[in-house]
């Protein structure tokens, strides 16, 4: 494939370069403090990808929704609810249950946004709150079992040919999403709907179902992330999804997906996720205080978007 620096590819290239910069900066730091360069070890990188896979899968789902010009703020508690219900059910049914929860939440979000036409920003926020309420009520009322099942543990922790299974799950999700986006009518319809819903509708695309589909994918992705995270922590717990919402949005946007929909490539989201994960890790290694960390985050996002090239001015 030829890499031309089109407007579409520029974010991907720039973000990849920045990933390199982060690694170099981190290595410079560890060299100067401990004299070693652990950041460049395969083990460290694999571990980053392993812990990054949760965010990566959330971001993949989020990207579907953002491509439509919508947003899914219910990811944190969809993830948590899927994980908690799954462990409560336990056994072989655990993972299907988690996916079921993801599908249901996605359907609900999709119906609210596509049929009732409530702005996704507010509807998914409400759904998130409701899910949190449900989980509080469930924990309070039923004291559900929270232990990860063996399959979850396997998916999150075991290695297959030396590669953590979580990374393989992420890769599988990525392949599905990337194929969906580039090779199927659904994917093309997603871009069309995100670009201009009215025109897509008049072109005979069932835009409502496209929207619902995207939200369902987002819900399912959050559920998969929940399953993995449960395996990784060996249990499900309240608030386990809280750390994923804003980084997921940031990863998608840093990957060059347009926040108003219609444009973006999945590779970009992958690079965006890796960028965020490494940035986090390096800042943590540098023992950067929270204040500095927040400021750096903000600066990185603004700086990168400025480099990507500014949006067009609306003149007509």
């Amino acid at each position: 494939m030829q890499i031309s620096l089109s407007k579409e590819n520029r974010p991907i290239v720039v973000a990849s370069l920045f990933v390199g910069v982060i690694l170099i900066a981190g290595t410079a730091y560890t060299l100067s403090t401990t004299g070693t360069a652990p950041l460049l070890s395969v083990n460290y990188l694999l571990q980053q990808l392993q812990t990054g896979s949760f965010l990566g899968i959330c971001a993949a789902g989020m990207m579907m929704v953002i491509l439509l010009g919508h947003i899914d703020l219910s990811i944190p508690w969809t993830l948590t609810a899927a994980a908690m219900t799954a462990t409560a059910v336990g056994g072989d049914l655990a993972i299907p249950t988690a996916l079921g929860v993801g599908v249901c939440v996605g359907l609900l979000n999709g119906i609210g946004v596509a049929w009732l036409r409530i702005p996704s920003m507010i509807f998914t926020l409400g759904v998130d709150t409701v899910l949190r309420g449900l989980m509080v009520a469930q924990t309070g009322g039923f004291a559900p079992q929270d232990r990860a099942t063996p399959v979850m543990l396997f998916l999150a922790k075991d290695r297959i040919f030396g590669i953590p299974a979580a990374i393989l799950v992420w890769a599988a999700v990525s392949i599905v999403i990337a194929t969906l986006l580039t090779r199927t009518g659904f994917g093309k319809s997603l871009y069309a709907t995100g670009s201009r819903e009215g025109a897509a509708y008049l072109s005979g695309i069932r835009t409502r179902w496209v929207i619902i589909g995207a939200f369902v994918i987002s819900g399912v992705c959050a559920a998969i992330a929940g399953v993995l995270l449960t395996g990784y922590s060996a249990k499900a717990y309240q608030g386990m999804g809280n750390a994923f919402l804003l980084p997921a949005i940031a990863a998608v946007v840093l990957g060059g997906t347009h926040i108003l929909g219609g444009k973006g490539r999945y590779v970009g989201t992958l690079v965006g996720v890796i960028l965020i994960v490494l940035l986090n890790s390096v800042l943590s290694i540098m023992q950067m205080p929270e204040a500095g960390r927040q400021i750096i985050y903000g600066a990185v996002i603004i700086g990168m978007l400025l480099v990507y090239g500014r949006n067009q001015r609306v003149t007509s």
Partner: protein, 507 residues
């Protein structure tokens, strides 16, 4: 000879290397109505956008009343007395009529906007354009398209223009409003105002303008007075070659009508207060026109047939099946496939920032997919076929469709629909804002499609098109078919009369 009020000297403008205007010298005199003619993409809009301060020239100078000027933005141009009316574009739907009329320089009291003064100012100006029926406090979004254009005109008048520019700004006006506008332009002309008029409709140009300028490929070709050249010569200047017969010949269909079964039959179609019992039938191989003044239910009829409207009543038979499709998707996928070329190609027909290829394929994923996956080979073949069939002028199929000219954009919409091989084609004013050459290609295509056995329902705001293209014409008035004409019975006279819902004798 009077001094030019606006003068261009060697003005050039490029967009990412594409030439929009090059070395243009152009003058316009006060007290004239000046037509700017040219194909799509000839540079007309660019020319006036520079004058209106929307764009800055890359080279050359702009002079106003002999002095060099440079407008940083539309406001600067307005302050200098250059007022521009863009098609549907510069009214704010969520603000009131009065707000819109005094939008950028409202009357003030103690530094704050004086609402009452603003309303009375709006009332005055609305009276000047004979739109006393428009409530100054109504939101613009509540008004019909033709009322909006009249408000736009009132707004322009309120800015005391020295130069008034109308860029395809009269497309939706009713006959009465057009007369009002003609009158107003006359008044302004007498008052020494220069009016620049852009339209693709020759009869409007002929009725209104005294001076004509022709542009082609970003260059100013010639300026001349009305009557100096024939219409044929003008068209040749515009497209750089001769044009022959505008419309392809109609096949003789006498006697056929009664024998073939209609593919589409509608009786008593009702929807809200817009459609009040429409009866219509359409056969394969036929082009049926929808006539009438703008806003008499033609668009709603097309949308209803395409499954966009809810709660439509009436009996419908499509290809022998009862009932309307429930959505465009079902209309497209039914046994009798339908296609609709919508009114506004930029918002309803195309995903402007997606590629030409993606826009072409958007209605035919089913056809080019194997299982759930798109077959890239078949997709590429279809794209090639579509582009070739309509002779769409493109660089690469991966360019955004936005970079095409209006006519080529419209061709993309048509090609998209032809890919599904529709049985019924609904066309909503497909040639609006399109130049003569492209129009001709579209007319020819329509006839070809009809001859292939497709049925075409064709709404146009241009009588000439209806006369030249259609086998039959149904004229709508107030949501009903008031007259059906066919063959040689379709004449401008009869169409106008039917449009106004008066007997032919009276017209």
């Amino acid at each position: 000879m009077t001094e030019a009020i606006v003068e261009y000297r060697g003005v050039s403008k490029y967009f990412a290397g594409i030439r929009a205007l090059e070395g243009v010298d152009f003058k316009c005199r006060p007290g004239s109505v000046h037509a700017i003619l040219g194909e799509n993409g000839a540079g007309k809009s660019t020319l006036i956008k520079i004058m209106a301060g929307v764009l800055q020239p890359d080279a050359g100078t702009l002079l106003m009343e002999g002095k060099e000027v440079s407008f940083a933005g539309p406001q600067a141009a307005v302050n200098a007395g250059i007022v521009c009316m863009f098609q549907e574009l510069s009214l704010i739907p969520d603000l009131s009529v009065a707000d819109n009329i005094s939008i950028s320089s409202p009357p003030r009291r103690f530094g704050l906007i004086d609402r009452r003064a603003q309303v009375s100012r709006a009332e005055e100006l609305l009276a000047r354009v004979r739109c006393e029926d428009v409530d100054p406090n109504a939101l613009v979004r509540e008004l019909s398209l033709s009322r909006r254009q009249m408000v736009e005109i009132a707004k322009a008048l309120g800015r005391n223009p020295k130069v008034l520019i109308l860029d395809e700004a009269t497309s939706a006006l009713t006959a009465r409003d057009v007369r009002t506008v003609y009158g107003l332009l006359g008044e302004l002309k007498d008052a020494g105002v220069a009016s620049l008029f852009i339209s693709h409709r020759m009869h409007e140009v002929e009725a209104l303008c005294d001076t004509l300028s022709v542009f082609r490929n970003g260059r100013h070709i010639e300026t001349f007075q009305k009557g100096e050249k024939s219409e044929r010569e003008i068209v040749r200047l515009m497209i750089g070659r001769d044009v022959d017969a505008q419309f392809p010949p109609k096949p003789d269909r006498t006697g056929e009508a009664s024998t073939t079964e209609p593919i589409l039959e509608v009786t008593g179609l009702k929807w809200g207060n817009r459609l009040n019992g429409i009866d219509l039938s359409l056969r394969r191989g036929e082009i049926v026109g929808l006539g009438g003044l703008d806003g008499q239910g033609q668009k709603e009829l097309l949308l209803a047939l395409f499954g966009v409207l809810k709660d439509v009543e009436g009996d419908v038979l499509i290809g022998g099946q009862k009932g309307l499709p429930s959505s465009p998707a079902t209309a497209k996928n039914a046994a009798t496939r339908m296609a609709l070329v919508p009114e506004d190609r930029k918002t309803e027909g195309l995903m402007l920032d997606m590629s030409i290829a993606d826009n072409l394929l958007v209605s035919s994923f089913g056809k080019i997919s194997r299982g759930p996956f798109i077959d890239p080979g078949r997709a590429a073949a279809e794209i090639r076929k579509g582009i070739a069939k309509l002779q769409i002028k493109i660089g690469s199929a991966d360019d955004p469709v936005m970079t095409l000219s209006g006519g080529n954009q419209q061709k993309v919409v048509l090609a998209k629909w032809l890919m599904i091989d529709p049985d019924i084609i609904l066309l909503n004013d497909p040639t609006r804002g399109i130049d003569v050459g492209t129009k001709q290609e579209i007319y020819r295509l329509m006839r070809e499609l009809a001859n292939e056995g497709k049925a075409i329902l064709f709404y146009s705001s241009d009588y000439a098109e209806l006369i030249g293209c259609c086998d039959r014409v149904s004229v709508l008035y107030g949501g009903q078919v008031v007259s059906e004409q066919s063959g040689d019975g379709i004449t401008e006279e009869s169409l106008v009369a039917a449009s106004l819902n008066i007997g032919v004798e009276a017209a």
